[in-house]
Symmetry: none
Subunit: 233 residues, 2 copies
């Protein structure tokens, strides 16, 4: 589940750093340098999350937060330079939901996002409908989130958690290419700092279990240079 994130930040460098870090995690990023632009983006792109720098040059961050809050219930996270609690409290009072302080570790920020994503997910997961991955009557393959399993012809397929999560992530919704970093950040709960090729290995293991001909995968497709995509049929 990739998030659409709006970054409200007037310093170009920081904005770029944030954008790169977030995109690396597989999120989509929209930027705004001031409050009016931010409000416009909230209306038009409807982000899942807003990051607001409290030290916006001209207009201050509090106003920005309040204005956004008037439009929407989107979670707002404050990025604050000052470490004292006063302005954080003020920000929370203005309507923010959480905060990180600068200089912040990108790790810390992405960890928060993972937590947020997890929270969003668990609130919908149980009721999410099953996804049909292969509709061939003699090879019917269904992902059932409520059961926490994948059914081949009605029988539980023995996937490991990692394989299951990979598949579930690719199927949310199917048809998107997901980069390795994106998969790493959403499938590996506590982040992953090793070689991203680990994704390939698990994809392979997944393929041997769900593909008709694992040598010529048709469900979990490789998109060279980009990542993997799930093509149900």
């Amino acid at each position: 589940m990739a998030l659409q994130v709006l970054v409200v930040e007037d310093d170009d460098r920081i904005r770029t750093v944030l954008r790169l870090a977030l995109e690396d995690e597989g999120h989509q990023v929209t930027e705004a340098a001031d409050t009016p632009a931010a409000l416009d983006r909230v209306r038009t792109v409807m982000p899942d999350l807003v990051l607001v720098d409290l030290m916006l040059g001209e207009i201050d961050g509090y106003t920005c937060i309040r204005e956004i809050r008037r439009l929407s219930d989107i979670p707002i996270v404050i990025v604050s330079a000052r470490s004292d609690t006063h302005d954080i409290v003020a920000g929370l009072e203005a309507g923010a939901d959480d905060y990180v302080t600068k200089p912040f570790q990108v790790k810390e920020l992405t960890a928060r996002l993972r937590a947020l994503r997890r929270r969003l997910r668990t609130s919908t997961e149980a009721t999410e409908p099953d996804v049909v991955l292969d509709s061939d009557p003699v090879r019917r393959l269904v992902l059932s989130r409520s059961r926490g399993s994948v059914l081949l012809q009605g029988a539980d397929l023995k996937l490991t958690v990692t394989e299951y999560r990979l598949l579930a992530e690719l199927a949310r919704p199917p048809g998107r290419v997901l980069s390795r970093p994106a998969l790493l950040s959403s499938v590996w709960e506590h982040g992953f700092y090793g070689d991203e090729r680990i994704v390939d290995v698990h994809i392979r293991r997944l393929r041997t279990k769900i593909e008709r001909d694992p040598g010529r995968p048709q469900l979990v497709v490789t998109v060279r240079g980009m990542g993997y995509r799930l093509d149900p049929r």
Copy 2:
């Protein structure tokens, strides 16, 4: 069983604290900062429970409670700053069902929710239909909530309360994976702060009593890395 909770509270910070705590317990939270918003949410999202702060800025909490009560029989819990009994009594007279006083322990609040959840459950429990866990004629296994027992070939199986609750939770409805934390929070009335592996132990004890071959469980299935699931047959 996750609850949809409406938090009526005008202080943003407290509202955020409440929301995070409730979401952590797996509930879904809607917020309202004043009475009109609260009434709107009651109508639109139909929460299972309403938390009302008695000290709402402009309109007082009593009015809010009365208005909500005119719309619905939803359980209302008062969050009160004052500790003297007068306003609590007034709140209860206005139609609230329970109360907690500030500064309250989050633990205390979630404990009340567990109690409420239990009460809601037992009020519907009596009418809930029996669940057939094994339909084999020579090993017929039935969970009868109205009797509060499990029948093997018509005879009461001697389960401990914990085992019974575990089974009942897994059977509501059958087929879902339930994580250990989820089971801990719904089966253990007063919460549980020890090692979550305690679930394994009780699952095992339950299995020795209801499985045909406890060594190869088929009813209460382990979903590695995720939790347990009940697969009736």
